[in-house]
């Protein structure tokens, strides 16, 4: 829809972004692939022998890998589930005529602005601490034994923290979507005798599907590589109970200095993420027409 001149220009304008992203993707990724075939320890003898697929074999057969794989999945789906369901509920509530809506909105949005390290620290120490935490105080007040969150339910605790961070995002996106719903359509349905549930199920929910897709897509990008929350709370423990793939690779490469193994793990993470990505891209490709 344009002249050759402007097409050439357009190509020139998009080139810097493409080249930068290509470099960003290909060079480190290429190096990762290369390292993954080496016996490469940062404090090793420097020989860095080629050892074929041995790193992959070690990484994949490591019980920690299986644990961290499932932990990653549980963490992702858990947070997605909580934020989507909670977010929808909250969005519907905030859509009602209420007093002080602006203040309510500001309060709900606030956790999104809190950096992960801060929220993890605050939750860990001031809320989930088994001795001095607020939850412990509430439990003892009602005569219960306080829960030792990070010892007994480490992954759940992290899910709670991360959900708290992402709930505002989901609610506000969904709220905006609800507000764009055609009111006349809803009124017509009400006149046609559709009940509240019916209207929600067959009109509101389908209308929200686009927004939900956006929520799932964006959250997944960030949830797949949760790091700081684990780094400052459980350090992946106890055992591997709260280690996700990102954290596992971090420990292997930067704590145990095993670059080869870390690289193999990194590539496996890339492959897994790509599987999720392909799935998601199909979804948005359908939902967001370009």
């Amino acid at each position: 829809m344009a002249t050759n001149n402007s097409k050439t220009l357009a190509r020139m304008m998009v080139t810097p972004a493409v080249i930068l992203l290509l470099i960003w993707m290909l060079i480190p990724l290429g190096m990762t692939i290369y390292f993954s075939f080496l016996d490469y320890n940062l404090f090793g003898d420097g020989e860095n022998k080629f050892i074929g697929l041995l790193n992959y074999e070690f990484f994949l057969t490591d019980p920690a890998f299986v644990d961290s794989f499932f932990n990653t999945l549980i963490l992702m789906t858990g947070v997605l589930f909580i934020t989507l369901v909670g977010g929808t509920g909250l969005a519907i509530l905030l859509d009602q005529a209420i007093y002080g809506r602006n203040i309510v909105r500001i309060m709900v949005l606030a956790p999104f602005f809190v950096m992960p390290t801060v929220s993890a620290l605050v939750w860990k120490n001031m809320f989930m601490n088994p001795v001095n935490g607020i939850f412990a105080y509430i439990s003892t007040t009602f005569g219960f034994e306080p829960i030792d969150f990070f010892t007994h339910i480490p992954l759940t605790s992290i899910i709670i923290i991360v959900s708290w961070q992402w709930l505002p995002f989901a609610s506000l996106i969904l709220l905006t979507a609800i507000q764009s719903l055609d009111r006349e359509q809803l009124e017509a349905a009400e006149l046609d005798g559709a009940g509240k549930f019916c209207r929600f199920r067959f009109m509101v929910l389908p209308h929200l599907s686009r927004a939900m897709t956006a929520v799932v897509l964006i959250e997944t990008i960030f949830l797949l590589s949760i790091f700081a929350e684990i780094f400052v709370t459980t350090q992946g423990g106890p055992g591997n109970a709260s280690t996700n793939i990102t954290y596992l690779i971090y420990t292997q490469s930067l704590l145990e200095y095993d670059v080869g193994m870390g690289s193999a793990g990194g590539l496996i993470a890339v492959v897994l993420a790509n599987i999720v990505a392909v799935f998601l891209m199909r979804m948005i490709g359908k939902n967001i027409e370009g």
Partner: protein, 276 residues
């Protein structure tokens, strides 16, 4: 009758909305309150909500212990710098894809977004080694480059969805009126898309401000932003609640205030154009 009824339901909804939003906001509120308590009051049982001796002691201590303003400044440089740099690259790219699309444009966009799905750990080691060999570990320049690259796909995508909403005829009119492409972008596109560009900038400032993977790994002292500053409180310092709270409040306050002022633009920007 019906007025009375709707009034009642309004009260009921208001009650629940406030209850839930207060619960969501509570951790932040509690942190801010605790930052003004003494350490003993901070762990007092039962905890007191407002009735305590307000003190600024903790802020003093936190500032003495580590150079808050240096970290704050690093955070500003990293987040604003990378966002501006990103805009510089993303605006032409988004202009090109939105107004002169080819058959490959959609795939290109998808590919760009997919680089965002690349788990950082996948490239952690090479980046770390490259940074080490180039001698840019723990430098602001290095981390700004990484942040720019990380957020470039999101910026391009967001701008693209904003630009898509601007009728191409307006830009064609400018072309007919004798504007060059630079003038077309500068005098026509940018002013019209200003709200979109602003919200893209804001969102990316927030994302970069809060980014806590690369900043934790690639910085130690000189270039450490607030994420690293606060991570040093992970243990056992974290047990000093009042000090931890003061540090936390200092770390989140700037972005919290910025975010509250710009929430409208943010929400639109965040949804990638999926929600109008």
């Amino acid at each position: 009758m019906s007025n009375n009824k709707s009034n009642k339901s309004k009260m009921l909804y208001t009650f629940f909305a406030w209850l839930i939003s207060l619960a969501i906001f509570f951790p932040i509120l509690w942190t801010i309150l605790t930052s003004f308590k003494t350490e003993t009051e901070a762990i007092a049982s039962p905890p007191s909500l407002f009735l305590f001796d307000w003190t600024l002691e903790n802020y003093n201590k936190v500032m003495q212990q580590s150079p808050y303003f240096k970290h704050f400044w690093n955070s500003v440089v990293i987040s604003v710098g990378s966002s501006l740099l990103g805009l510089l690259i993303a605006i032409p790219a988004a202009w090109s894809m939105a107004f002169i699309p080819t058959k490959r444009t959609k795939n290109l966009l998808m590919w760009m977004l997919s680089t965002k799905m690349l788990p950082p750990v996948g490239v952690l080691i090479p980046i770390y080694l490259l940074f080490r060999d180039l001698g840019i570990l723990d430098t602001l320049g290095g981390i700004v480059v990484i942040m720019t690259l990380i957020n470039l796909p999101i910026m391009t995508w967001m701008l693209y969805t904003y630009f898509k909403e601007i009728p191409g005829e307006i830009l064609e009119a400018a072309r007919m009126d004798g504007a060059s492409v630079g003038q077309e972008i500068l005098y026509v596109l940018a002013p019209i898309a200003l709200p979109g560009i602003a919200s893209t900038l804001l969102l990316n400032v927030i994302l970069a401000w809060n980014e806590a993977f690369w900043t934790l790994i690639l910085t130690t002292v000189n270039a450490a932003p607030l994420t690293a500053f606060i991570a040093s409180y992970s243990s056992p310092e974290g047990l000093f609640y009042a000090k931890l709270s003061a540090a936390s409040t200092l770390a989140i306050a700037p972005i919290l205030i910025l975010g509250w002022f710009s929430q409208k633009q943010l929400v639109r920007g965040l949804s990638f154009g999926a929600v109008k």
